[in-house]
């Protein structure tokens, strides 16, 4: 078990009303387990709290209650040292690639930031250069892209840059928050192939968030269904997709199977 999230609850302040500040709970006690080397799918309709959960898992949103443990260390525990050390164990790739990268940064600066953040001391400039080169090659981008700006890249290419900068952390877990959802069909498959290959080579564990079930069958080993901030169904095996108990999950599946037919 590489990551364990237990009973996560989080709430946001509702739109401020006169004299009243109500909070609205978005996640009502979600628990997740991620095994070493697997790809866990997280499915749910939009607004079910997938992105919120992803941010909690990456240390961006402190939950009201519950805990996230990575390799036995607590992400929101009291120990600052411990929290810092976990920063590089888990990386995130967002859906909107255009806002994921600072528009004023060169591609190489984007990757450099990750290298800097995970404490790769800059012994020689060439050392970083080599690392950036190898990362770009790793995600299948030509080295000439180093000096390009984000707006000069296509969606698929930019998403590859995002993958590269996450890999620069040398993480053990990567969370993909609908990372391929905004790409077109052919590019989706190419990027997912790349992700599968990277996972095999580096022995990473993935959490793959999507609202699209076809991508699940392509990527994931296990699936968890989320609805309105609750886990409604957990599948240990993709073969079980046919006989789901939960009506919500079944409806999702059926809609996809209809499309396939």
């Amino acid at each position: 078990m590489i990551m364990k999230a237990e009973d996560i609850r989080i709430s946001f302040r509702k739109e401020r009303q006169l004299f009243r500040r109500e909070r609205q709970e978005i996640l009502h006690g979600v628990s997740l387990n991620l095994k070493q080397g697997e790809c866990l799918g997280l499915v749910g309709e939009s607004g079910s709290g997938k992105s919120t959960l992803a941010k909690v898992l990456c240390g961006l949103n402190r939950p009201d209650s519950g805990s996230v443990e990575i390799g036995g260390l607590s992400l929101y525990g009291g120990d600052r040292q411990e929290r810092q050390s976990l920063r590089h164990e888990i990386g995130i790739v967002f859906q909107e690639y255009t806002s994921s990268v600072n528009p004023y940064f060169h591609i190489e600066t984007v990757i450099e930031e990750s290298l800097r953040a995970c404490g790769k001391t800059k012994k020689r400039k060439s050392e970083w250069d080599d690392l950036i080169d190898s990362l770009l090659t790793r995600v299948g981008l030509p080295l000439s892209y180093r000096k390009k700006y984000p707006h000069e890249l296509s969606g698929g290419e930019l998403q590859r840059v995002c993958i590269a900068r996450t890999l620069a952390l040398e993480p053990r877990i990567i969370v993909f928050d609908e990372a391929v959802s905004s790409l077109d069909g052919a590019t989706q498959v190419i990027v997912m192939d790349l992700l599968n290959e990277i996972q095999k080579d580096l022995g990473l564990s993935y959490i793959f968030i999507t609202h699209d079930l076809t991508t699940i069958t392509y990527m994931c080993d296990r699936v968890t269904f989320l609805k309105d901030g609750l886990v409604v169904e957990e599948l240990e095996n993709l073969d079980e997709l046919k006989d789901l108990k939960n009506p919500y999950a079944r409806k999702l599946i059926e809609s996809v199977l209809c499309l396939d037919a």
Binding site: L60, R87, I92, F94, S99, N102, P103, E113
Partner: protein, 274 residues
């Protein structure tokens, strides 16, 4: 972005005008044909001659020389005021927008109070309170203007801290100094430069106005507003005295305003990036 900017002829023209004024101001003693303080009562209100290209004023001083020497207080004092305004606004805006919470509350309430005063009257009040002196005029300008900048910058900071690239930065633990200087500052700067350029025109006008009213730069010193003030006294007999400083102010302010507009067009990332 910069390429885009230099493709426009208008922006280059504005830049050249401002640059020429700046250089003329810096090298005023070498360029000006005469001493701006040298009076020659026998020769007052002379028309355009070789010796006095723009004629002389009511004390027989060379108008062109006074105009050139006047660039220093006019332009440089407003730039100084702008620098102060931006620095204060930037610090306050970033503190409020990035750290939120009670820091935000306190700063924004002060900003609200500042913004609810009419700015011109505030400046007059501050100058009246602190005494008539050009330093106080600059302080008053900063005091009145910083709130606008703080509010604008806070909004921009909040907008950008929600963006994914800042979230990613936070998730990998890049640290606030890095996020502020490398991510947020460039994003703010593009908007700030535009606003600041447009506002420089306003500040020049403001300082000149105060000098015209006799609250800023004082009489013998050549400043465009002060020159207009002196010319005002003889406006019925020699209205031509108003022309030179008036035109100079108009040209400089127009240049700043147009430059600001050109920058806005060039700097908008959405404009460039598609």
């Amino acid at each position: 972005m910069i390429k885009q900017f230099f493709q426009s002829r208008l922006s280059i023209a504005c830049l050249v005008i401002i640059l020429l004024f700046t250089l003329a101001g810096i090298f005023a003693p070498y360029i000006a044909p005469n001493d701006p303080y040298e009076t020659d009562l026998m020769n007052k209100f002379s028309s355009y001659t070789r010796e006095h290209p723009l004629g002389t004023d009511q004390l027989g001083r060379c108008v062109l020389s006074r105009l050139i020497h006047g660039i220093r207080p006019t332009l440089f004092l407003s730039l100084l005021a702008m620098a102060g305004t931006i620095t204060l606004g930037l610090v306050m805006g970033i503190l409020a927008g990035y750290f939120r919470g009670w820091v935000d509350e306190v700063i924004m309430r002060v900003v609200d109070v500042m913004l609810s005063f009419p700015s011109q009257i505030m400046i007059l009040a501050v100058v009246a309170l602190l005494g008539i002196d050009i330093r106080n005029v600059i302080l008053a300008n900063i005091f009145v203007k910083w709130a606008w900048y703080a509010r604008m910058i806070r909004t921009t900071v909040i907008q950008y801290t929600g963006k994914n690239f800042v979230l990613f930065s936070k998730s990998i633990g890049s640290g606030s100094p890095y996020i502020l200087t490398r991510h947020l500052l460039p994003c703010i700067a593009s908007e700030l430069v535009v606003l600041a350029t447009l506002d420089t025109g306003w500040t020049i006008l403001n300082i000149s106005t105060l000098s015209f009213l006799g609250l800023g730069v004082q009489a013998p010193t050549p400043e465009w507003g002060a020159m207009l003030n002196e010319a005002k006294n003889v406006v019925t007999s020699n209205p031509g005295q108003m022309v030179a400083p008036g035109v100079a102010i108009v040209i400089l302010i127009a240049a700043f305003n147009m430059l600001g507009d050109c920058m806005r067009d060039a700097m908008d990332p959405r404009e460039v990036r598609n």
